[in-house]
């Protein structure tokens, strides 16, 4: 591959390219708290636990690579149930994929914030809670991602 010499022409080309985008910007910013992206169908977000489907096989806790999932055994009870620690969870989704009864499932919620570390611990009872994206709860405009030949990604209202 031969390299051409550069000079004034290339200077002008570079400036022209800059001006081109100055006139016709190709922005990809999403104004997050006011707008939020609806994530793809497969998104691996916060995990939802279905109490009734669980058979206490403890496979999820055994495969968890981050030691986030633990089986909580109550005194006197025979069955142990999974609880999760979101301080450790890396959202690899192994637990969901190995669950033989589909008791664990992904939600598409990812934008959760905590004020307290204790809150990030989800024992089995809390683990069953339904997830709602805080931004959506606040009434954020939902956008979907569309691939575009001219602009790469375009965010269109859903």
């Amino acid at each position: 591959m031969s390299r051409r010499k550069t000079g004034l022409k290339e200077h002008l080309e570079a400036i022209a390219t800059g001006i081109k985008y100055l006139v016709k910007p190709n922005r990809i910013t999403v104004y997050y708290p006011e707008e939020t992206i609806v994530l793809s169908e497969r998104y691996r977000g916060m995990i939802h636990y279905d109490w009734n489907k669980c058979i206490s096989c403890s496979l999820c806790a055994m495969i968890c690579p981050a030691d986030a999932m633990k089986m909580y055994r109550k005194k006197g009870e025979k069955k142990a149930r999974p609880g999760i620690n979101y301080q450790r969870c890396i959202f690899c989704g192994y637990c969901v994929d190995i669950c033989p009864t589909n008791a664990l499932s992904f939600t598409r919620v990812h934008d959760v914030a905590y004020e307290d570390r204790e809150e990030m611990l989800y024992p089995p009872e809390r683990f069953t809670q339904e997830w709602v994206s805080p931004a959506e709860k606040e009434g954020a405009k939902k956008l979907k991602v569309v691939f575009d030949e001219e602009r790469g990604l375009v965010h269109e209202p859903e």
Partner: protein, 337 residues
């Protein structure tokens, strides 16, 4: 009445209005606050982003720099133990003073000149040459490796642009037969940039070098030497050091407009009749557009290497400015001007 009238007369006199209101201190402040915002907005537009937004959202975050400035004000100004304290504190203040002082010699409109001296052009350039010295003082006073590296770079850069700046400007002086900005404007039937493009090109690049804007922000060299001479500064002093380059650049764009872009012409007669300084509106608009173009270059270029900048200064711009001198002489001999 007498006292108030006298105060108004003083306030509206060119000697006061020029340095303090326009184009001096107050305008400098406004330009400083707005141009950094403009720079960030332009860069953001080119770079697929939005830029500052949430401070006064209806205007696209236009007062972002005011917020930043306030933050600098109330941030602690740390003076490190190992610094030369007097130099460390004084240098940015002196630098800012010398960046604003040249505005006293910039004519604003016909017959509206703060300090009328027949040598306003060399005085303007001369005052600007003090700033590199203050930056050297900052670097030396900081007593920090990065600062000293930056200081030495500043010293080298001064070598690269200063001669070019003066020779290119003198080429125009030669062309117009005067060293006074105001007379230069009057002499420009055809704008200077068309009469002597060589001089304009050399002056333009040299003034970007002088203000340390991209592609010549070698002194700050963030990727190698953190912030160069300004590494140790914090709080309001850091705000000052950040502003110096922009103030200098604003001064230079005014000078460039006066020398090459036929200054305040055409003068809007109606505004001029209300108050003469308003006749300088065209001067300001031209200078500001030029300023916007220079800050736009930030989104096109990276940074040159120190020796490359020196090479550009001595091997390209210096001969160009010499050519400009001979070209001016040629034009005079032929009798075009």
């Amino acid at each position: 009445m007498g006292v108030v009238g006298m105060l108004i007369r003083i306030a509206l006199s060119p000697q006061f209005f020029g340095p303090i209101v326009f184009p001096g201190l107050l305008t400098v402040l406004v330009v400083l606050l707005s141009i950094i915002w403009v720079e960030r907005k332009i860069a953001a537009r080119v770079q697929m982003r939005v830029g500052p937004l949430y401070v006064l959202k209806p205007l696209g975050g236009a007062i972002q720099m005011l917020a930043d400035g306030l933050r600098f004000f109330f941030q602690e100004f740390i003076i490190p133990e190992s610094t030369d304290k007097l130099v460390f504190v004084a240098a940015p203040i002196v630098a800012m003073a010398f960046a604003i002082l040249p505005f006293a010699f910039i004519p604003v409109a016909p017959k509206f000149i703060p300090y009328s001296v027949p040598y306003s052009m060399p005085v303007f350039l001369g005052l600007n040459t003090v700033i590199p010295l203050t930056i050297l003082a900052m670097a030396w006073g900081s007593n920090n490796k990065f600062s000293i590296q930056g200081g030495i770079r500043e010293a080298y850069m001064t070598m690269a642009y200063e001669a070019v700046l003066f020779i290119a400007a003198y080429a125009m002086a030669l062309l117009y037969g005067t060293l006074d900005f105001a007379e230069m404007v009057d002499a420009q039937g055809i704008p200077g940039i068309i009469l002597n493009p060589f001089s304009a090109a050399a002056f333009f690049v040299a003034m970007i070098m002088s203000a340390g804007k991209l592609p010549f922000d070698i002194v700050e060299g963030e990727q190698e030497i953190v912030a160069g001479p300004f590494t140790e500064y914090s709080g309001i002093a850091f705000g000052l050091t950040m502003g110096i380059g922009y103030v200098q650049l604003y001064g230079f764009t005014l000078a460039f407009t006066l020398m090459y872009l036929s200054g305040w012409n055409p003068v809007p007669a109606q505004l001029y009749s209300i108050y003469p300084a308003l006749g300088g509106i065209m001067l300001f608009v031209k200078a500001y557009l030029l300023l916007m173009f220079i800050v736009f270059l930030r989104s096109v270029y990276g940074r040159y290497r120190l020796d490359q900048a020196l090479r550009i200064g001595w091997r390209k711009l210096f001969p160009l400015s010499i050519i400009a001198v001979f070209f001016s002489i040629l034009l005079r001999v032929i009798g075009i001007v």
